[in-house]
């Protein structure tokens, strides 16, 4: 339908685009193996794991490994919540329920309202809660509040909430895409054979949509693991890895930062590979399973 020359130029454009996407990251990967006397730019002065060793010894006063652990833990919690809540909401949206339109538009807005505004809002919310707790504690003379209470803000309160406003919309949109293509005759068949609602869900719906749930999990974990803007004001006292990284961009002037970049990118790629392999395996199993003659087209 398109001429050969046109297709060829589009192909070249696409190749350049992929180079543009991956090229810079590759340069970081290479430079993180810079020799001990090497700097932030090419040429390579030798080849060593010096900067990785320097990373393992710690970067200045910052607790990189603590931040790394926090990012992984928060990522896993966000992942589980994103999958479960999006699945439940996705099922709910197949029917009508009160305020469903409002919820849909609120979710879309949550995706496109500037992240700094959400971060500010969540920070304000927890600050007001803090003030309220202190006031109530003072009024009622609750000793631990007066002595020890600092803040309700933290990784798994305000930080978790702020990140969910970013991952949940993606989860819901994927569920919409899934259920828009879902053939309800499978459910009807299960019901006709006497399955209850829970059994229908577990044995008819869940196996079919399982690969997509892996996709939601992939979004949940990776988006949380790299999330920066929304948690920036709302994370509390202890930072996640991306926040520490952003701080390091202005202070660290040797290839340690590239070593850290290589490491965190490796974690991302590991996660992406695991999810993609799981996705493929589940897809294959679903495709192989004996399926009833479909009633619909």
């Amino acid at each position: 339908m398109f001429g050969r020359g046109f297709k060829l130029s589009l192909g070249i454009f696409f190749t350049l685009f992929i180079l543009f996407l991956y090229g810079p990251t590759l340069s970081i990967l290479v430079l993180s193996f810079q020799g001990p006397n090497g700097g932030l730019t090419f040429p390579m002065r030798g080849f060593s794991t010096f900067w990785f060793e320097s990373l393992f010894d710690g970067v200045g006063v910052i607790d990189i490994w603590g931040a790394f652990g926090r990012s992984i833990r928060l990522g896993l919690v966000v992942m589980v919540l994103t999958v479960v809540l999006s699945l439940m909401a996705g099922m709910a949206f197949r029917k009508r329920f009160p305020l469903s339109s409002f919820l849909f538009y609120a979710t879309i807005s949550s995706l496109i309202v500037p992240s700094i505004v959400i971060s500010l809002g969540v920070a304000l919310e927890f600050r007001i809660i803090d003030d309220a707790v202190k006031a109530i504690g003072g009024d009622m003379n609750i000793q631990w509040v007066i002595d020890d209470f600092r803040t309700t803000m933290g990784l798994f309160s305000s930080g978790l909430g702020a990140q969910l406003t970013w991952t949940l919309p993606f989860g819901l949109l994927i569920m919409f895409a899934v259920f828009n293509r879902f053939d309800p005759s499978y459910e009807e068949a299960a019901r006709d054979l006497g399955a209850g609602p829970w059994q229908t869900f577990r044995e008819a719906v869940l196996p079919i949509i399982a690969p997509s749930l892996i996709g939601v999990a992939l979004f949940g974990f990776t988006l949380s693991y790299d999330e920066l803007a929304r948690s920036s004001q709302a994370i509390g006292g202890l930072n996640t890895l991306p926040l520490e990284l952003r701080g390091l961009t202005t202070t660290v002037t040797d290839p340690t930062i590239y070593a850290l970049g290589t490491l965190t990118t490796a974690v991302s790629f590991l996660a992406i590979s695991i999810f993609l392999i799981l996705f493929t395996l589940l897809r294959r199993r679903t495709a192989k399973a004996p399926r009833p003659e479909s009633a619909g087209p």
């Binding site: 992929i18 809540l85 949550s110 700094i116 304000l124 991306p242 590239y258």
Partner: protein, 292 residues
Amino acid sequence: MFDVKRHSATLLSFPFAFVIFAFFVVPLCLVIMVSFWDYNSYSIIPDFIFTNYQDIFYGCVKSLPDLCTSFATYISSLKFVFITWLITLLTGFLVALFLVFCVSTLQMQIVLFLLCTIPFWTSNVIRMISWIPLLGRNGLVNSTMQNIGLTDSPAEWLLYSEFSVTLAFVHLYTLFMVVPIFNSMMRIDRSLIEAAHDAGASSFQTLANIIIPLSRPGIIIGSIFVITIVMGDFITIGVMGGQQIPSVGKIINVEMTYLQFPAAAANAVILIITTLMIIFAMTKLVDIRKEL
């Protein structure tokens, strides 16, 4: 009695709705509310005043045609929005066009699509600083240009400049154009294109009269994404601009570090209103829910 079966959808949606309500709707309302509050150096004081808004635009009209800080910041942001939008739209459209119409098997389409998507799941900060070895003073581009004799001294405008910020935006966010446009294009009925071809339409005519109009929903959704992200950005502008280029997000960020929450909130409200005005016309043109 409460009928669980009849209200099953409501119950199922409840946890999701709770999170969106508690961490999006309420915080957004608080931002609007607190933008009318008063503050001093250590606390915020419930009130209903407009001084936070007046402070933002203080002297702005009087000093025209010279731009005050707020106007200059917004104009700078709008400039980034427009240039980034234009480049990502063009790039995203061509990439999607290649994936949908020039790749013959579905399997290959999925592989190449994933290839475009994978960077989205890695760290933005890393992807930003990965430009340093290329664009820095002694970076690859500068040393190459000097070696082949294009310039004598290293070009300073490559890094920590408006150029590097725009480049990073395009690098980070073109995907937000590719995915929705790809999605729209995949839904185009191939027989329409064959019919156009049979009727003697050129590639260009097919593109202009069939593909572009039918990709419109994807183009609009992608545009909304790119525009809102760039409008509210402060991290990319901070890191790639060498902390020298102003942005609304940065102003909010700084005000928060000084605990001037009401002032930050007023800026946030203005930012939302500006962004909404830009995308309002676009959302009017398409029903997102039908396009998934």
